[in-house]
Symmetry: C2
Subunit: 477 residues, 2 copies
Amino acid sequence: MSLPAAYAELFKYIDSHSSEYIETLREAVAIQSVSASAERRQDTCRMVDWTAERLRNARCDVVIKDIGYEKLADGSEIPLPPVIFATLGSDKNKKTICIYGHLDVQPASVGDGWDSDPFTLTERDGKLYGRGATDDKGPVLCWIHAIEAYHAMGVEIPVNIKFVFESMEESASVGLEELLTQEKNTYFSDIDYVCVSDNYWVGTQTPSITYGLRGNCAFQVEVECAKQDLHSGVHGGTVHEAMADLIYLLDSLTDNEGNIPIPNFSKSVAPLTEEEKSLYDPITFDVNECRKTIGCNKLRHNEDKVQLLMHRWRYPALSIHGIEGAFSGSGSKTVIPKKVIGKFSIRIVPNQETDEVNEMVVAYLGDKWKERGSPNNFKVIVERSGKHWSEDPFHPHYTAAREATRHVYGVEPDLTREGGSIAIVADLKRVLQKNIVLLPVGTGDDGAHAENEKINIRNYIEGTKMFLAYMYEVAQI
Amino acid sequence: MSLPAAYAELFKYIDSHSSEYIETLREAVAIQSVSASAERRQDTCRMVDWTAERLRNARCDVVIKDIGYEKLADGSEIPLPPVIFATLGSDKNKKTICIYGHLDVQPASVGDGWDSDPFTLTERDGKLYGRGATDDKGPVLCWIHAIEAYHAMGVEIPVNIKFVFESMEESASVGLEELLTQEKNTYFSDIDYVCVSDNYWVGTQTPSITYGLRGNCAFQVEVECAKQDLHSGVHGGTVHEAMADLIYLLDSLTDNEGNIPIPNFSKSVAPLTEEEKSLYDPITFDVNECRKTIGCNKLRHNEDKVQLLMHRWRYPALSIHGIEGAFSGSGSKTVIPKKVIGKFSIRIVPNQETDEVNEMVVAYLGDKWKERGSPNNFKVIVERSGKHWSEDPFHPHYTAAREATRHVYGVEPDLTREGGSIAIVADLKRVLQKNIVLLPVGTGDDGAHAENEKINIRNYIEGTKMFLAYMYEVAQI
């Protein structure tokens, strides 16, 4: 079904205001809302005020939610940036959507390798470069511009909206989960669906709609053999070296095929259904291009597209990140390190529960340690656990999102997952218990978190239209 | 046999001049002859001049040997500190001994944790703290004071002496091996024995005489999987990770017993003779004290003293030092490192030749790499090879050194080896082909290369007497 005629006018309005939208993004990017930096906390709060003002101008009912203090490493406390709740419409006959976005950004400086100042939006070849351009200021502005367009053209907004804009997403969303829980039966009591636009298309040509994210369990395994670093000439041969013990343990975690030989580890992985399987073939993903971008000789799984995507998105994977405490410089050093800490993490998938995975890993390493028979001190630390998330991509809410994408881009979007984690999505799911769709605006080469982050002007403008169409389609569910 | 009566007078003379000797050491320590630092090159050369002047005053015939230039990392060149050749006596009826010592020191600053300025000799509890006090300025001065005492008391020096004092020992003795080779048939043509005092007693109570040093072969093994670091969320599961490959290779190098499973690796290790075995039992070495000093739960080899010492000195050992290129900070980082370089080294022993060991290691890792079947890039780099050295401790030269030690300390010295390497000793042996004895002055707790390096006043004074007695005993061979 096509959109009502009014939407053609709305889209025209958006096209004719693209310069204005770029100027707005320029203002947003210029505010250095780096949540990781205590020195930037005032800027981060300024970004909250700037956005709240725009939402008020867009006729939203804005409430600024104080979420307390952040404890810094030195023991001092600074206020957390507040969360914006903004309501638009309360028509009992309409669906209510909850829109999540974040206003904070990753750190950035020209010294990191940017070709232009990261906090000055710079246009080159149809792309808008700047920190936060695609993650997540651009998408947040798309929502605001969409409702502004409705107002400007006098078209009735077909849904009620409850915005949640936080400013600590790049710093583990401190304080937000508590707020969600507190407001579950108040602010969030009447929502029907949740939409998050904080990820990217898989590639650069075909739009994606994302229905799953892997979780992540991070571990540290520590082995200590001495109270001081030792000289390998003096003590080599007489000491059970911690480094050899740790290497043995780390080598037991995965094999050349990328399997994780922990007993029963993959038992709870959700079986692949025919329905899900059918989603992979149509996905636009060029194995050769992927290999070239990464710069590796050969990818896993015989470079089979479907297998690669599945192992990226819906199967667990273990990575060894590095070792703390051992020599890590260039050249050579004849040291026997006293204490070494191996760092690894496992991307977990439905239906693997973090507690269960953590227990398995700790028990497995304990067994391996016994097998090793070393007299050294050994410890496993569960560093961090992030839950996976996935939805049924055949849910009507997904059908609405697909329709909306098709209206704008004229093609069937890829139904995708992501290999990484967005912790807040799992939180939103757990607390609100509503269907969530990830509806990305940017493309796979946008470089969120990296130098030269950008959003394509095309995506920024068409993304605004896509959100307009999404509101219409949700109203039809 | 006891020493002739004149030696009692010589020893008395030495005792009565101990304050003067300490002042001389104070002057020497104050000269910051750090060979590793280009900015200290002038001081290092000043130390050469200062020592040459003392040798001339002690009636030596001094020749300053220019050994060219050192190429710095930035491509520039600075003059190497010259080597001192100093001859005393040319009596054809006497033995000629070659005495090696070095005038340069390791870097030091109060910030490293020194309790007093490293370049201001500071006396506390009978110990003289200062950089170079025991490594190797103190022992060099012992030699000079010994010949000064002979002169002062009008006692004929029973041997001819050829000193070789270099100033690049802490920086790989750059230029010295070439000089030794050039002068093999000239300056060194008539030497009978070589004596080096650049090591330490095993413990603190019993004097040592050292007849062996392990060599050291250092390696880097490099695995590269991508042209950039990757996000473990995005790419985990689809990439053959370099880190897992490297961990597999490193784990194949040694087992929990400290064995090195490289085929035929230990085949050429010199068999233990009954005669050599008999040297171990009497050695003063407290396993419990060693374990406590190191701070480990349990040492290898069932904590058997003899086995421990043998594995420290006369059997090979492999140590994994660390990994370059992987995450080495605290906390966690979800990175798949693009290229990782494992660092390990093997202490080699008689009769293992460096070339043979290097070939074995490279071939073994090549085989393991094939077994792994990884598509990544792999490379082994032979970083550095230092030869082992050992002498027959029952050689008459050793008997002379033992006698000399007994004269001064009244006890039978331990005949020891060391687990580490002193590259120049292997060079001296290879070029000069004469029997070398290591006759240490300092004790095992002197802390050469560490903060609060010291020499005990007792060792500094008795060491001078020991050298006097050594000259006498060598004349009796």
